[in-house]
Amino acid sequence: MSEVLVLVDHVDGSVRKPTYELLAIAKRIGEPSAVFIGGSAQAGAVAEAVKAYGAEKVYVVDDAEIKGYLVAPKAEALQQLAEKTSPAAILIPSSAEGKEIAGRLAIKLASGLITDAVDVTFEGGEIRTTQSVFAGNFTVDAKVTKGTPIITVKPNAAAPEEGAAAGAVEEFAATISEAAKTAQIVASQPRQATGRPELTEAAIVVSGGRGTGGDFTAVEALADALGAAVGASRAAVDSGWKPHTFQVGQTGKTVSPQLYVANGISGAIQHRAGMQTSKTIVAVNKDEEAPIFELVDFGVVGDLHSVLPAVAAEIEKRKG
């Protein structure tokens, strides 16, 4: 069985959930090999983490020399590793940086690239991807026809699968060119921890829009009762009520949770583009004509400031 390279998504050695989802997909295709580009001091802990989710091998690329640079050095490291291992596929998280690494890698390896896959299957020796396009209105079934398939995969595309694997650690010394060390990260401000799940990874997302009037208390209370992430519409972000990192939609995050609760959000096409593929959609809106109601599995025509606190209180009560 051939190896499938999985680029580990991590923050200073703390592995993020999409990595485990990618490992589950890699298992369908071949032998998962995690690629950790990071500090060698964290390699042990990362290896333990990915091994529990099926990584047969863990390549460690020490980033001491390249840590402060954007995208290009990681693409070079992956290129060299791919040339050495001839993998069946390379799976990369569909984050902003992941997609750019994949873009550069595709040119380097003269290989086809598919971004934002929401599913990846392997049948009859062929890797096929599913993508959701045009604001989720169409589903595209595609494959790579040249080189090593490079696929960026969206969060929640697969369920992580626990199951211990060998997790054999192997140091890989990549040779990084000076040309790749040109876009330098001069300062980095980690996102403030909210205590809630990350928006794109969350199983439940509770969002607020113009109808909140800028008061997200009720939205946040419901989110916390459900253990959900908090999102916002562009209108709420443009009004300065929430930072851009909360924005769900075409120019913000695309989410595909099990449950999406839209509160005081009318449901413009740009917002739909970011949430239409959610499994179950619920909306609370005062305006019964709001287009969001065309999408919902369940809708409440009413004031979110009275409905949401009552729902949150009842959930807390049931939890005991």
Binding site: V71, S95, S132, T139, D141, Q189, L226, V284, F293
Partner: protein, 266 residues
């Protein structure tokens, strides 16, 4: 280094508010659906113009570059109306159906043909394919640094500094010209063309180039040469509207709790 040339990448896309569809060969229908300059590229044009205005003593030429069908002229025209100085439109029937890899090849060759500028600016993503990879691919092909997804852009001399809202951190990224920059919709509201701008645009140079002008073989681009293949495109069945209840004295909350419980969310 003085800044003399900026190339802005613009794309002609089907209107997102129209009924977008696909052709029989699974490519995006770019002709049968009303198109326009991708909204997210307007921010790239805006940043190019702002940089030109801030560095008025350097006589910067802003060139809008597009690759697309004859209708794509609309996209570069809009850029000219906003204030770009000239436009280049690469148009060739052989290009139809190209993937991002081939598009980046055509863009790279076109940029080499018109002269590699100190600064290339693109948008966050196209509003149709929305892969967000062309700036990175172009940087790779031209062997340039990429300073991408900027929400704030500052340039001084040959230095470019941007703010980038990553998934886990907000970063300040710096680079030295020449480089490829891409900007998000947070970088600054794009201007509307003024009446004067619309009139002036009619006299601005718009050059059309074919693949032979770029030394690109027809076999290197288009649907057949794509490194990926779309096997099928399926329209998602429209979501059927579910149950909608009117809240009266708390009945809405009770009904919603019951719904969430029935779906095992609580």
């Amino acid at each position: 280094m003085t800044l003399s040339n900026i190339v802005v990448l613009v794309k002609y896309v089907p209107d997102a508010t129209a009924d977008r569809k696909f052709e029989a060969d699974n490519t995006v229908d770019r002709v049968g659906v009303d198109g326009l300059l991708s909204e997210l590229d307007e921010y790239a044009v805006e940043q190019a113009l702002q940089i030109k205005e801030k560095r008025a003593d350097e006589e910067i030429t802003v060139t809008a570059l597009t690759v697309g069908p004859p209708e794509a002229e609309t996209a570069v025209r809009k850029a000219l109306q906003m204030g770009a100085d000239k436009a280049v439109h690469v148009q060739d029937d052989a290009i139809a159906g190209s993937d991002a890899v081939a598009t980046s090849l055509v863009l790279a060759k076109a940029i080499e043909k018109i002269g590699v500028p100190e600064l290339i600016i693109g948008g966050l993503a196209s509003t149709d394919g929305s892969m967000s990879v062309v700036p990175a691919m172009l940087a790779e092909r031209l062997n340039l640094p990429q300073v991408t997804l900027a929400s704030v852009v500052e340039t001084q001399g040959d230095q470019v500094r941007i703010k980038r809202d990553g998934d886990t951190a907000t970063e300040v990224v710096g680079g030295t010209l020449p480089l490829v920059l891409s900007v998000t919709d947070q970088s600054g509201e794009a201007r509307y063309p003024s009446f004067k701008g619309i009139m002036a645009a009619k006299k601005k140079p718009l050059e059309t180039l074919a693949l032979t002008d770029l030394g690109v073989e027809p076999g290197e681009v288009g649907l057949e040469a794509a490194w990926t293949k779309v096997e099928s495109v399926t329209e998602r069945p429209p979501r059927t509207a579910g149950e909608i209840v009117k809240d009266e004295d708390g009945s809405g909350a009770t009904a919603l709790v019951e719904f969430l419980a029935s779906k095992k969310f609580i």
